[in-house]
Amino acid sequence: MEGNGVRRSLQGIACIGVSAVLCMAPNTTAGQTAAGQKPKDAPYHSAEMMKSERTAAVAKLAPRLSSLASLTRIEILPGAITITGPHNGQRLLVEGTFADGHQEDLNSRATIAISDAKVARVDQGDAIFPLGDGQATIIATVQGHRASAPLTVKGYWTASAWSFRNDVLPVMTKVGCNSGPCHGAAAGKNGFKLSLRGYDPVADYYALTHQADARRTNRMEPGKSLILLKPTLAIAHGGGRRFDVGSPEYKVMAGWLAQGMTAPRETDATVTEIQVFPHEASLRQGAEQQLIVTAVYSDGHTADVTRWAKFDSGDEGVAGVDNNGYVTMRGYGEAPVTVWYQSHVTFSRLRIPFPKRLEETVFTRAARHNSIDDLILKHLAALHIPPSPQASDDEFMRRAYLDAAGILPRAAEVEAFLKDTSPDKRNQLIDALMKRPEFIDYWAYKWSDLLLVSSNHLSSDEMWSYYNWIRQSVAEDKPWNKFATEIVTATGNTLENGAANYWLIHRDPLDTSENMTQAFMGINISCAHCHNHPLAKWTQKDYYGMANLFARVRLKTFAPSGFRTAVGPLFNNVTVYSAPTGEFMDDRLMIPLPPKPLDAVALSSEAPGDTRQYFAKWLTSPDNPFFARNIVNRVWRNFMGRGLVEPVDDLRDTNPATNEELLSALTKDFIAHNYDVDSLIRTIMQSATYQTSSKPLKENAEDDKYGSHYAIKRLPAEVLLDAYSQVTQAPEKFEGFPAGMRGMQLPDTAVKSYFLTAFGRPVRAQTRESERTSVPTITQALHIINGETLNNKLRAPDNAIDMLLRLGFTDGQIVDYLYVTSFSRHPSGPESTALTQGLADAEREKVAGVDDTRRAALVDMAWALLTSKEFMFNH
């Protein structure tokens, strides 16, 4: 309360990237306050704290409460309750559904009773506390509506001890003891180090009980233990007050101390699953909703762990959530609220449908080409977002060419397509497009980005060998699992087997292991280098175990001096092979761990042979939830401008997809089609979703992620440059490559090009989608206006303008031709008139030093077209 807890030490953040966000301390303190709150003899899972927060919040925000007249039914959540042991309580939710389909947290207006007063009592309106073993029924009533839920209390009379693993650690995690800036830092804090967010209960137990001569706990006089005195500020504590004497947190810690500090045991029940209530809800703006979290343990018992869980909103603009799981709904849309408890993650999907109720026909009549559309429309209907109408043929054509092959359609192709009357002409176009060599160039380039093909790491011959292998794989539509396997297990001479060059770029087992998971699984495991991954289930041992799979890879080089550097090109003629044995000794754990793909069974360290085979099998298995999902998400992003999961290289349980049902279905379909990337591309391009207009409707303008309309995107650097070359017919000349070679055909991003660099070409130093940027910069603007690239093309002799002049086209014809080649459409009447008139005026003007004023005027017009948004964006 007081908001004081938000001030936290942020010093000592050792993490980089997104992980640091989670390494931070929780942003609210538990319990406490200086405002004179009486510490109450609160039970373990107290409702009081949430209550008081709620009261304050209600007073301030005065949420919109719906009239109960339109209430259609109420429900108790969780639907069935079992309370085990004397310590546990359970909070309830009474959730109402109203006539218009929205839900509301009705706790404040509900009456809750229990059929048998010997079994349990209701405290503070909505918290149930056990009184004795037995069964009863919980009954909730709200103005004539009634709901019931069965209640079972067991083990009430069984002596129950506080568990280090399941009681003490969750308290320490929630109040932030083991957070990144505090004692969870790699170096600890003031001599006291805990594992980050409690990933290592055994080490933490020893740190608390044994270390520094049992400094922190006192089993003879538990009240003198530093772990009570410091967080309550009886003694100065750099981390400030974490909880109060008498708080539920204090009781857990004190109880555990008094009971002799039981150590974590192998046999402890562990959390197997967490559930959040409500799991999903449509709420109204301003609504407030308490979330309830239940942990399910390996011994079958369940407990309300709401107080110890952590909450995080996926979209603060839609839903805000506080430290107690109390949600305030803000703006339209959908927000997954992430719930964490003991390394388990789940989501509550909360949404505020857009206010306008739409006719059902908006969705039933919307274009549907395949199952993508069914799942997109289903989601849009729930959110009250109408889809935009379908794009016109010319829009679709330009879009498809650019997205799938990185080129613009030629004038003749445009004319033919627009005239074509066959009903499936769009599908025909897609098929034809996918047979073109430019399609192969485009996707070879894309995978070369992913696999870091570059002469910065490889000699020219090696780079070509690597690139050609990738291009050949695309050409033959090699199934993605086969593609990955060939890289992962590559052996042999790098000039003969292009895939083997991967192993020249990744020579260190740790780097290899990080890159493999990034490129082929879209996950970032580098956090686990120093500590267990805070956002995913990967542990430090998983990390080093996996690295050991790559410890046997050897490079044989025939260089005169056996010269070998850590980075940079080797000499040509390198052979990659796997030694029969060998282990990787890491720099931190100092013991080689048995080779093991992240969550698979470990191989024996003595197992002979190429351990990469084992990895490849695990990687490409249909049971690997990340492998297919990663590539599906990356391909989706290519076409839709946004991954279903963003960022695309950060797949994890804690980063939900905007449309999980769709991503799962596409992934399944991709696996069923034998990892066929072309088939996936075709499915996406054929969908009505891909073919919607980019023009938003008033009602869907705010949507940028649910697929209601095509998301416009700036042409990638290489595509833009190629488009300039294509329209002006003034080909680019790259140093060391033949004239006329397109940017998209380059095997290498180290090729010098001011234009490509300015427009965000990646350097291919790291496998990271964000290496390529489409951020607008002043450099880009200046280069387009005054720079040489475009202006030289327009000035070049024998370019498109000269050709049109030689053909004797009129100004009107030239305008039309340039429109078709640039925008794949004819100019509108007014556009044509205005431009023709403007050209006529300009051509009459006498400009000093300009002999051919007509050509000059045409160049200016072409420049205007080529620098327009309509040209530079795919839409």
Binding site: D213, A234, I235, A236, A258
Partner: protein, 483 residues
């Protein structure tokens, strides 16, 4: 999430973040909870004794004579009035202009206490009133003394009774110089047992909490036991072994003492504390002779060289420092370790020194006049080393480790000669008799074993030195269980 990303985006560790977070806090909660100002006026303005505990509690961890960020020391009156590197912090009669007040109230960034909750309104009011009253000093001139007198200002929480039988860990062991007796330290108590029979021959009671270190005077007539309350004070008690009388209690340090050593000439006692200090005491009078201040983290072990000329100290700061006992000057620092060190021992000849700790490695340095150099190091165990002793004949180094082993090592190569493994709990108390015959190992679980160093076999079954503390039974478990 967005706010967090913003923070993360601009967040090089440090003050910027705190500032941003404060803003976030203000937005989120500020308006909801206006601080309640204490209305009740003081009948008379508070004197220093009322504000000093507030300073000690809230500011002590960064602005004490032990650690003084920005050169500011708040835990004694004269230093507080002098201010820090950035000038005075208290302007008498003018709370509004006092930097101390402004930073505590958040008017001046960064708000203090840094990274912790602001002071309660009542505390702020008290400090304000004290400054307005002219910031009067303490009644008697104790400006050099800490504001909380050691031993009198124990800040503690509610008493909690163990609900199960508990037995004190063995926190220290030390053989008497003639080897006939072994002193064993535990919670608030030292027992002297007969080395051969294991019989308890004497019990010494102390207020020093866990007795973390023991030392006999070289003639064996006196026994010193050191401990204290973590983060409050250190304490050394000295008994006459023959008469069983406590002859002196020395209090000092701002945290408990982890290690003491008696100088070979019997005149000095050295103590190392978690407060980062090493102190040299006159063993005869109990007077503090020197405060050796150079470690930047807890001092876990101290040892005198056989000739008494040098003192070695091992610290959590990963170093061993060598001090000249006569002048109190630090001669040099041995900084090869990669993690904290918790034990240190001189070789018999005094020309080498061994240390070990959390990086699982044993280090042996050869000592010179102006510097020492690493002569051996070995990653010794699978887990942190807990204790290390050098055999009196100089040939063996014996270590205990949290991997549950005691290892005898060749001092020349550090290779293990033999292992006594499967210790039932951590051995943090380890000592070897001066004739080198016996090794005593005390454990966290309260058990003690004495081993024959030749056969590596225990001479008796493990014994529990202390009795288990009876607990009040009944359904108290349920009580503390939170109901």
């Amino acid at each position: 999430m967005k706010i967090r990303q913003v923070i993360h985006g601009i967040c090089a560790p440090g003050l910027t973040c705190v500032a941003v977070l404060t803003i976030a806090a203000g937005l989120a909660y500020g308006s909801l909870f206006a601080p309640r100002v204490l209305a009740a006026a003081h009948a008379s303005p508070p004197d220093y004794s009322e504000v000093a505990p507030i300073f000690a509690r809230n500011c002590g961890s960064c602005h004490s004579s032990v650690q003084h960020k920005s050169g500011l020391v708040i835990d004694n009156y004269s230093a507080l009035m002098k201010g820090g590197r950035h000038g005075a912090v208290v302007v008498a009669h003018d709370a509004k202009d006092s930097k101390l007040m402004r930073m505590l109230e958040g008017e001046l960034d960064p708000q203090m206490p840094l990274d912790a909750d602001p002071l309660a309104a009542a505390e702020l009011a008290k400090i304000r009133a004290w400054i307005e009253a002219g910031a009067p000093g303490p009644a008697s001139d104790t400006s050099a003394a800490p504001s909380i007198e050691p031993g009198t200002g124990l800040r503690t929480g509610p008493e909690i009774k163990p609900e199960v039988n508990v037995i004190s860990p063995v926190t220290s062991v030390r053989f008497s110089p003639d080897g006939t007796m072994l002193a064993v330290g535990g919670n608030k108590e030292v027992r002297l047992i007969d080395s051969v029979s294991g019989k308890v021959v004497a019990r010494f009671v102390t207020d020093a909490g866990a007795v973390r270190s023991l030392a006999f005077s070289p003639d064996g007539q006196l026994l010193a036991a050191a401990g204290g309350a973590p983060q409050i004070e250190g304490e050394i008690d000295i008994w006459n072994v023959a008469s069983r009388q406590k002859i002196r209690t020395i209090r000092g340090h701002r945290d408990c003492i982890y290690s003491i050593a008696w100088s070979p000439d019997g005149k000095l006692i050295a103590s190392g504390s978690y407060d980062r200090m090493i102190k040299l005491w006159d063993a005869g009078t109990g007077k503090e002779l020197r405060n050796l201040q150079d470690h930047i983290d807890a001092v876990f072990a101290v040892a005198f060289s056989p000739d008494g000329r040098l003192l070695a100290s091992a610290s959590q700061d990963r170093t061993v420092k060598i001090w000249d006992v006569a002048t109190g000057k630090r001669l040099y620092t041995l900084s090869d370790a990669s993690d904290g060190l918790n034990s240190v021992a001189f070789s018999r000849s005094g020309d080498r020194i061994a240390a070990g700790g959390y990086d699982k490695t044993i280090y042996v340095w050869k000592l010179g006049e102006d510097d020492g150099h690493l002569s051996q190091s070995l990653i010794a165990d699978e887990d942190s080393l807990l204790a290390l002793v050098w055999s009196p004949d100089g040939k063996a180094i014996i270590t205990s480790s949290s991997d549950g082993s005691i290892r005898f090592r060749d001092a020349a190569t550090l290779e293990a000669i033999s292992v006594i493994d499967r210790q039932p709990d951590w051995v943090e108390a380890l000592d070897i008799s001066i004739d080198g015959k016996w090794l005593a190992a005390g454990r966290y679980d309260g058990s003690l074993s004495i081993y024959d160093t030749q056969s590596r076999k225990p001479i008796r079954a493990p014994m529990m030195v202390f009795e288990s503390l009876p607990h009040s039974a009944g359904d108290q478990a349920k009580e503390a269980g939170g109901r």
